[in-house]
Point group: C2
Chain length 425, copies 2
């Protein structure tokens, strides 16, 4: 029963039936939030052991005997054991890694603010006051866009395709010298779940940019956050090395969704030239990151294998929720010719594309029924979804049965919004 | 035997004797560093219990039941229990407190960078690209000066007197609208140990500034770090309230030298207008600070009384070292008419004023004997001590007997530098 093929009368009858279902939901006084991508309590419990690993006095020292309880200038870029572990797990050169505080988003902001104030090597000085544009594959991560907007950087939306940003558009856009960067989540992307194909990563590495100080903010936040099966992402540093464009990449990630969100360890990785550029200003800003939390992480995981086993436990918990969304959407949307959600293999989100012009209405109807979703438009630069079609679903936090209820509500709301739109046409 | 009253011949004989002592030190191949203000291992051991206070699952929740293991938007400004504790201990209004990461220096830099990029309420927009001057009581904290220099802010040196900055000079300087701020450590100042008098704090609160967006960076890093007896510092917020100048103050402190340096909890305090100004940019930069470390602190200390008891244990350890410096200087410098060091009652440093033109020479001689001090000039803007007279001594880290040896070396070197200078005149 594809809605598109219904007569006006059939639509009216469908709307009556959906409205009755909505009234029934209303009576249930639901209160379900799936607005932000946060682990559920069961996931948090997986890392509780991390708080007991600093037990004896020796546990507070690095393997080579440096006391992590105090300032240690030589540990400015992080505890060596943890840099080594991150290098192995995230497949970046160990010497590229700079460990930071509790948030990679904070490191991204700080990096961008540093560029605004001091400029980049090979560039024309501080970006402050200059016309600077960034390419923003969208749907994308709302907090990325907020950073760029706050710093006065003009955002250019590039469509996110099934294998990454539309590279024809990207390659054309970077001929403009004002286009100085691109920001993205390359694996299990927020919110689409897209994993950039080898071809896309290669083209990002190879493309000629008019701006000599062009940078890619490579936020690999979900590098190891598979839900179904682990996917392959090409190694951007290796590809860039082939094309002599390694300085183009600022790589970021963290353990926020591996151990404790907001209490994990973030890091960035960058070429020696970028490190050399960053250090003076960074050493003015910081006396170095919390090293005890680094020790907790390294002692809790021990090896890359153990860390991946830990991610396997996360995946089991997540899978139960991802299954629910796939199932409810397949039954509650697909038969009516509504919805594309790309079957994400990992990450924290579903990106649901509804028929154009029905996302806002669906969001409002859900809200009235006590089901809170991420704001419509948040996944686009300036908070505006040009087609009013995209909803971000964060399914990880609620219990599966609550999630099922919320998704059922969402399906009914989306169908009603679409049916009403068709009727009005 | 004041050197100033010696004849040339007497000076020559004194120099010969000092040179012999230096040769003897040389043979001892010393290796003593007192360059940075860091607690000794014994002090670090005082806080080891902090790592065991998160034991049961309930320990990870705030008193009102919020799960600190994950993102909690309502905890953006900190765990309420810790804000309450800080408010009591540091005598600032609880609602003024914003808890940050592991470093107040980082919060100071971020605040200044934010002003550069976005400006302040009541001001004329971002400070970037504008002529901005800051008043810098000196000797002062080298990392403060480095922040201002890095951001391109012109530093104006103001003499630090025994009761705080020379307020006649400050009050005159703030008539210049380009003078937009002052940066200081008001209690047990780094490095002088000076505690600002009530009169000085009142004048800072009361003075009329030409710049409408004038700010005082009030880095109360050593608020409770007494060594001998606790000193009184006037409450700057209270005084400012009298004069309607509360927005002038950005207050900072941390537990870096209370628990673990670089692994503690930093905070700032500011008026509601400043908070309102700061929040949008801060919420773009940050997803909030590490809350588990906040819980560790609050559970370890429990009450303000316990926290002050803890500082008493620090003071005992520090006192043994401060006593050594006072004793060696009294015997090794004072009789020769050399040296003023102001008898600090707390903090982490001695600021030793030698006869003009002898600090660098003394520093070099010490270095040749394996005694490393903070770079000469570091305590002044742009790293230049105009009178070449000031040395910063950080006596906390070495063992008392090592410290004694280092101070004895320093005395001999200072005497030699002075005697040689007098002879050459």
């Amino acid at each position: 029963m594809k809605y598109l093929s219904l007569t006006k009368d059939e639509l009216r009858s469908e709307i009556a039936s959906l409205s009755a279902q909505i009234e029934a939901f209303k009576a249930q006084r639901l209160n379900l939030t799936m607005a932000r991508g946060i682990p559920c309590a069961e996931q948090l419990d997986l890392s509780m052991g991390m708080n007991d690993v600093l037990a004896s006095r020796e546990d507070f020292f690095t393997a080579d005997g440096r006391d992590c309880r105090t300032y240690v200038a030589t540990l400015f870029d992080g505890v060596p054991e943890l840099r080594r572990l991150f290098a192995e797990v995230f497949e970046v050169p160990e010497e590229y890694i700079l460990i930071g505080g509790n948030s990679s988003l904070n490191m991204i902001y700080d990096t961008m603010a540093r560029i605004m104030l001091f400029g980049l090597p090979g560039g024309d000085g501080p970006w402050f006051g200059k016309k600077v544009k960034f390419l923003c594959p969208a749907p994308g991560y709302d907090r990325h866009f907020k950073i760029l907007e706050t710093l006065g950087i003009e955002m250019i939306t590039v469509n996110m395709l099934a294998d990454g940003p539309d590279m024809d558009v990207v390659e054309e856009a970077v001929k403009d010298p004002d286009v100085r960067g691109l920001i993205c989540v390359p694996k299990y992307s927020n919110p689409t779940g897209v994993v950039f194909s080898d071809e896309v990563v290669r083209r990002l590495a190879a493309m000629k940019t008019a701006a000599p100080d062009f940078r890619i903010i490579w936020d690999n936040a979900y590098a190891i956050h598979y839900v179904y099966e682990e996917q392959h992402l090409a190694n951007i540093f290796e590809l860039c090395r082939e094309y002599g464009t390694e300085d183009r990449v600022f790589y970021f990630s963290s353990t926020s969704k591996i151990t404790f969100p907001g209490n994990g360890v973030a890091f960035m990785a960058m070429s020696p030239a970028n490190t050399k550029w960053m250090m003076p200003a960074l050493k003015t800003q910081s006396i170095g990151p919390d090293k005890l939390n680094q020790l907790r992480h390294v002692k809790f995981f021990g090896t890359a294998e153990k860390m991946m086993e830990h991610m396997g436990l996360h995946a089991q918990i997540m899978r139960r929720r991802f299954d629910v969304v796939n199932e409810v959407f397949s039954q509650g949307l697909a038969p009516y010719g509504i919805g594309e959600w790309g079957n994400p293999k990992g990450g924290y989100f579903f990106s649901l594309n509804l028929p154009d012009g029905t996302a806002k209405k669906t969001f409002e109807l859900c809200g009235q029924l006590g089901v809170v979703l991420t704001d419509v438009g948040a996944t686009y630069p300036y908070g505006v979804d040009p087609r009013d079609c995209n909803l971000r679903i964060a399914p990880t936090f609620p219990k599966p049965e609550e999630l099922r209820k919320a998704m059922e509500v969402l399906c009914v709301c989306a169908r009603l919004a679409y049916a009403e739109k068709l009727l009005a046409e």
